[in-house]
């Protein structure tokens, strides 16, 4: 069961983990909009550390360039696992 529906707004966790993660630095702390739930996959942060991975829904999340960079009229959509996200 996916926690977020398409159209929901979410905030990317701002933390800077000391292990592998798939959260690009440029979206950390930013608010985006869920475009779609993709599939459920093992969380790479767990797999990379040899831990039994949590398996979570991954979402396509869209951000506005103006918000990410302070300028630009494009959007950037990034795939993010559920535990990378919080309510805004």
């Amino acid at each position: 069961m996916s926690r977020y529906a398409a159209g929901s707004r979410v905030r990317v966790r701002a933390g800077d983990p000391d292990h592998h993660t798939r959260v690009p630095r440029y979206v950390r702390g930013h608010v985006g909009e869920i475009v779609a739930a993709l599939d459920r996959w093992p969380v790479p942060d767990d797999s990379a550390r040899g831990l039994p991975p949590r398996v979570e829904t991954c979402y396509a999340v869209r951000f506005s360039a103006a918000d990410l960079w302070g300028s630009g009229d494009h959007t950037v959509t990034v795939d993010l696992w559920e535990s990378y996200l919080d309510q805004p």
Binding site: P24, Y26, D39, W41, C58, D73, T75, D79, L80
Partner: protein, 194 residues
């Protein structure tokens, strides 16, 4: 190709070989296993595969709907079963132009687009495409009107993205083979119009 590109490519090859040697020394794989994997991967990987799917979507609205809603099912119908990733296809329209990047590494649907070009793996492409895609596209010769929204897709998960280019005007009389020939690898990445 410039000498700078040569340097980048050769140092990547050296680093790759060092990584392979570490994995082999650790008993995790062997040269034979790596060769077999690469042979299998590249034997059928070609941008003609993605081009065939795009051309079919131009002429068959039901196939287009399937391609955009369930890329893997659409790939299966075109004879490409068992993709090792979730295929997501995004369509260019009069209002939106899509472009694919992988800022973390160089993810890309190899089986449908063929081996990725050197520039796709380069730091400038990966860092600038999310920041100033209009300028990057202009350097590829793609100048879009300001009214066209650019949508960048950063491939950070197990999904792989492919662009469905817009069908060029004046191609009504072409057959499937001729339409397929119009679709380039860069068109499927979003760094070219077709």
């Amino acid at each position: 190709m410039t000498s700078h590109d040569d340097h980048v490519h050769s140092s990547a090859a050296v680093r790759t070989r060092q990584l392979e040697e570490r994995l082999i020394a650790a008993g995790l794989t062997s040269d034979d296993e790596i060769d077999e994997f690469l042979t299998r991967l590249y034997a059928s990987a070609s941008p003609v595969n993605g081009a065939r799917m795009a051309a079919r979507a131009w002429t068959d609205p039901r196939y287009r709907d399937l391609l955009l809603s369930d890329g893997n099912a659409a790939a299966g119908q075109a004879g490409f079963d068992g993709l090792s990733y979730q295929l997501r296809v995004v369509a260019n329209t009069d209002q939106t132009h899509n472009v694919i990047v992988c800022t973390l590494c160089s993810c890309y649907p190899v089986s449908l687009l063929g081996p990725s070009p050197g520039w796709y793996k380069s730091f400038p492409y990966r860092s600038r495409t999310v920041r100033e895609p209009r300028a990057v596209l202009a350097e590829f010769g793609v100048t879009l009107p300001d009214t066209v929204q650019i949508s960048v897709w950063d491939s950070t998960s197990e999904a792989r993205y492919m662009v469905l280019p817009a069908r060029p005007v004046g191609t009504e009389a072409l057959d499937a083979e001729q339409l397929t020939a119009l679709v380039t690898r860069n068109g499927l990445i979003g760094t070219a119009l077709v």
